[in-house]
Subunit: 165 residues, 2 copies
Amino acid sequence: MPNTELSSAVNTLEMPENPHTDNVLCLENQVCFSLYSAANAMVRAYRPMLDKLDLTYPQYLVMLVLWQEQGISVKTLGDKLFLDSGTLTPLLKRLESKGLVSRGRSDQDERVRVLCLTPSGQALKREASEIPHLMRCKIGAELDDLKALKAMCDKALAQLHASID
Amino acid sequence: MPNTELSSAVNTLEMPENPHTDNVLCLENQVCFSLYSAANAMVRAYRPMLDKLDLTYPQYLVMLVLWQEQGISVKTLGDKLFLDSGTLTPLLKRLESKGLVSRGRSDQDERVRVLCLTPSGQALKREASEIPHLMRCKIGAELDDLKALKAMCDKALAQLHASID
DNA sequence: ATGATTTAAATTGTGTGCAATATAATTGTG
DNA sequence: CACAATTATATTGCACACAATTTAAATCAT
């Protein structure tokens, strides 16, 4: 629709930009930037709490999964967290070296790792149990807002997974 | 609303968990995990488009800012993007080595960098101008939903910034 | 004016994310 | 049964994020 050619000729040094391009490429109009910034801020906000458990946020996510279900493979874990072995293998080695997780092998299939919690890993669940409440205070939003935010993130995630490329 | 208590008793091997704890620490109830996953998926979705411009997503954000306003400092850029010099300095050096950005020094204050676009950096705006539209197709959401998502991310971000620890 | 404080960038080190590739075990096929 | 294709992890390399520290320049306070 608009005069793209004209504006970029001008663009390069001194003159008013193409209003369309300018609008669209404006930081304030970028949903994705808001998403990205909010996610970064969220991880930062978790840090002081997770420091007390000697966990990073991705490590905390892995623990959440294992507190729910043990004996799963790296593949299953990756499917739940939308992360691949390139991320998870070193992360799981760190959790193992902290004595929280064991990385066994399946008897049926020598390729697959069987991920379980050590007693310390299990015990850490109790210390973690207050984190969700503390975090809800930090975000300080209404429950309905949080539900709506989660619903929309899940929807966007599903859409992005659907359109693989 | 299934029998969460019953199932988690089985979970751990021997002991019934606190049903409250179990619910709260469940991955499916984590707003932050949705936010985190959506943000990761979003960056992944940008990748094939940004590859054509030889930019990463954070580099694209820097270019968005500089397409709007040049001659700003690293500090100002960091304030806009919520990123610090530890992230931006190496990123800006990469943009400089690609010939997109110049990193001058202020005359008034020798400490501050003055960030400007090279002609190539300016010219890249034209190629980038189609990205927002392509991205909107990938997310495939209604405009109202996107506005709502952005509004809630911005609100959460503001809250998290307000409660500095 | 000078020493202390503040400020802007840069540096260092750790831990992701993820593409690309490698390795090894399992499965499918003729 | 051999052998090609698939699958589960692991490895490598690059680019963030960010805490912590350092360096150097500017400002403040006496």
